[in-house]
Amino acid sequence: MSFWEYANPKKFMSFTAPILPVVTIAALVCLVSGLVWGFFFTPEDYRQGSTVKIFYIHVPSALMAINAWFMMLVASLIWLIRRHHVSALAAKAAAPVGIVMTLIALVTGAIWGQPMWGTWWAWDPRLTSFLILFLFYLGYVALWAAIDDPDTAADLTSVLCIVGSVFAMLSRYAVNFWNQGLHQGASMSMDAEENVADIFWYPALVAIAGFVLLFIALVLLRTRTEIRLRRIRALETRARRA
């Protein structure tokens, strides 16, 4: 049986029903352990002091914010190509989660910025590109909200998501060109040890795993809700016509 069979709503529901609680619990475990570890069992950074600990929320949320959009892009493509309703609904479900992640990254970043850079907000390229990402999320959600016919909405938002992704990359580049910032470079690379010491590093990894799992759990939950809503809608229409 092919992987696509799970794209059938009923199959998807029955398949994810048992998975959801597992993922949720795993997410909570990772989050709690990672954050507690990070907050209470790591030494204070010699430069940044205790403020460094916000790192354990800031980075994972920032990463998830980006990956959420990526997941939406993939789901949109699947919908456009294979017309699987679930993938469209999954994209719809992921957007608000992505928005929240972006907001967390922005807010924690701003809070972090106060002690570090002495300002809540600086037009630093990465901060800015996150702001732009936030705008893209807003537009995407607004378009979903504006169109009543679900299939039309799915199609249009997919088109928007694809075009938007291209422009998001462009903007990222443009913003970097526009202003070289004070934000540190990516440390998610293989040579991570160079920027961040292992002691800070391992709890961060756990926290990131926690955020990933949390994201999956939330998207599953919301997708299931969307599917139920569609089902209700379908039943109502049929009832009206019967």
Binding site: H85, R230, A242
Partner: protein
């Protein structure tokens, strides 16, 4: 040239409306669609015209020969009657003969801005478009709305003499009698069952 429709089913807003429609029209033949309000005439015509995909079934008709005309006939208030027609003509790579203005009694409205026309005059202009674009297969949705008897007659004559007689095909949805002897198709028997397949929600039931 022929229009062949087999087992056609179509939906609106994700709701299947009519199914199992079959007919075949040869050159010079017309078909009049009948049915209560809301049964799906407009939907069927839009499907035939290729504006929306059919749920099921086949529509065989020569490419680029079909034209669709509905209540909204794309008239620009800021253009004169002539300019409106000339635009559609040049889009279809044809030209506007004077005969069209006579056929639809638009001669002395030729230079009037379309926005200043009365309901029926606007309608006549919308129909005159059909005489201009030179398409052979017409899908007409209530073409005679708000036309007076005289204009209805004008239109019927145009259909008979300048379209069907020249090997054209026409599918017309209307509630009134056009006075052209064409077979009628009542859509009532083709009403889709309430649990008919193909609805966009189907996967969720």
């Amino acid at each position: 040239m022929e229009l062949v429709v087999t087992d056609l089913a179509c939906a609106r807003g994700g709701v299947p409306l009519i199914e199992g429609v079959n007919f075949r029209l040869k050159e010079g033949e017309a078909l009049v669609l009948r049915g209560a309000n809301g049964i799906g005439k407009t939907t069927l015509l839009r499907t035939l015209a290729g504006l929306q995909p059919p749920l099921a079934g086949m529509i065989e008709c020569t490419e680029d020969q079909s034209a669709y005309a509905s209540h909204a006939d794309g008239i620009k208030a800021q253009l004169t009657v002539r300019e409106n027609l000339e635009f559609w003509a040049s889009v279809h790579g044809t030209s506007v003969e004077a005969s069209v203005f006579e056929a639809f009694d638009l001669v002395d409205l030729r230079e009037r801005f379309a926005g200043t026309l009365s309901a029926g005059q606007k309608r006549r202009l919308g129909l005159a478009r059909l005489g201009v674009i030179g398409r052979k297969i017409l899908f007409l949705d209530e073409p005679t709305v708000s036309l007076d008897r005289f204009s209805v007659k004008l239109f019927a004559d145009f259909l008979k003499e300048q379209h069907l007689a020249m090997g054209g095909i026409a599918v017309i949805a209307t509630h009134i009698d056009l006075g052209l002897e064409a077979p009628e198709l009542d859509l009532e028997p083709f009403r889709a069952a309430y649990d008919a397949g193909g609805s966009s929600d189907e996967a969720f039931l």
